[in-house]
């Protein structure tokens, strides 16, 4: 095989693994962003963080009704505490994502890529 083609095919394999690993890291990040409160499930995202922050800035701090991922309304007694918790969760998950992502993109072989996910 032409050496130029062989090198390109090797990079191609590397890119498949890299993209799959990136996708799985993102899935893990999304799993880490699931928050449970009073039997309800919330996927914490930018919209949720901004919405809760807006409610707080408007002075709504107690007995606020939010709609969870399964469209079930739930009364949040202390919205400040809820906000602190989801913000903590967001920072924890996103920092973990950043660390793992940076580690992954430094790798230059398939073996190292799948080993670095530890």
């Amino acid at each position: 095989m032409d050496e130029r083609l062989e090198k390109a095919l090797k990079i191609g394999n590397l890119m498949i693994t890299l993209n799959d690993q990136k996708r799985l890291l993102k899935e893990r990040f999304l799993e880490n962003l699931i928050y449970y409160k009073n039997g309800s499930q919330f996927n914490i995202n930018k919209e949720m963080l901004t919405f809760v922050n807006m409610l707080l800035s408007q002075g709504h701090e107690t007995d606020v009704v939010l709609i969870d991922d399964n469209s079930i309304p739930v009364k949040i007694e202390d919205l400040s505490e809820f906000y602190e918790n989801i913000l903590d969760l967001y920072f924890s998950a996103s920092n973990d994502y950043l660390l793992k992502y940076n580690e992954l993109k430094k790798q230059r072989t398939v073996e190292r890529m799948i080993d670095c996910n530890e």
Binding site: T17, D20, R23, L24, R28, E31, I34, Y36, D69, E118
Partner: protein, 281 residues
């Protein structure tokens, strides 16, 4: 009666050792979910003679019988076998479960985090996975979105959470009825494969219980159902880390590597999983 726990069905065929998978999974359930596991099996003597049964809360015996269902089991892209597929007891989970709150799980679902613990605290009395993600990004996933081209949403029966409510009793009895009248329901819902699959039966039952519409009869389990098909191989498993060889697009028998960390995965290649469990047990 314990309040909550996991129920596994393990009925071996001539080649696949579901009992071994169940023992392996029960240990992981204890580690990650910290709830008791009960097993429903037709191989009591084999289980007692070969494994540490203390990992199980209860052992529930059922009669040994072969199923009418046969299916092709692949071990990667280049090897497959047609074997007996005993998947017709899932609808009995409601009556067989010793728990008020139960997670029924396939034995090839490798639990690697505590995410499923949360469903015990959820308002929803019935939860399944609807969203899923194939570890191979290129594969067509349409068959796991809808049960057929012109039909209804697909739900996974791989992991099911339920509480023993009167409504859920009706739901499981309906699945039993669908199973018994599979030819009819297969025709009504325009499902091509002849093989009875619990995923289809659960999806049809959800559609009926929803009033033949898309409404809120079931809740979704946290996260997504991550899976690899039987065209892929699992090559390493240490604690919550797994390594896979995923079949390469349009290159039969060639694979690309990838790994997961802290993610629960449905591993459909039973042969490959069996080899990994042999190393681990």
């Amino acid at each position: 009666m314990s309040n909550k726990g996991v129920l596994l069905f393990a009925r071996n065929n001539s080649t696949i050792d579901y009992v071994k998978q169940a023992v392996f999974l029960a240990n992981r359930i204890k580690k990650y979910l910290n709830v008791p596991t009960s097993i429903v099996t037709d191989s009591i003597n084999y289980l007692n003679d070969n494994f540490d049964i203390s990992v199980f809360d209860q052992i529930i015996p059922v009669e040994y019988e072969n199923s009418m269902n046969n299916r092709r089991y692949s071990d990667g892209a280049l090897h497959n076998m047609v074997l007996n597929f005993k998947n017709d007891m899932r609808s009995k989970a409601f009556s067989l479960s010793p728990y008020d709150e139960t997670i029924v799980m396939d034995t090839d679902y490798i639990v690697s985090n505590d995410l499923l613990k949360n469903c015990f605290n959820s308002y929803n009395d019935l939860q399944l996975y609807k969203q899923s993600e194939d570890l191979a990004s290129y594969r067509d996933t349409y068959e796991f979105k809808y049960v057929s081209d012109s039909s209804i949403d697909f739900y996974w029966a791989t992991v099911v959470f339920f509480r023993k409510t009167p409504t859920n009793k009706i739901f499981f009895e309906l699945i039993d009825h669908i199973s018994e009248n599979w030819t009819h329901y297969r025709s009504v819902y325009q499902i091509d494969p002849l093989l009875f699959r619990n995923d289809y039966a659960f999806s049809i039952a959800i559609h009926i219980m929803n009033g033949f519409a898309d409404s809120g009869f079931v809740g979704e389990l946290p996260g997504k159902m991550l899976y690899t098909t039987d065209q892929d191989l699992i090559i390493d498993l240490k604690n919550d880390k797994m390594k896979f060889l995923v079949q390469k697009e349009k290159h039969l028998g060639e694979y690309t590597a990838l790994s997961t960390n802290g993610q629960s995965i449905h591993v459909m290649n039973k042969f490959s999983l069996g080899r990994i469990i042999n190393e681990a047990l």
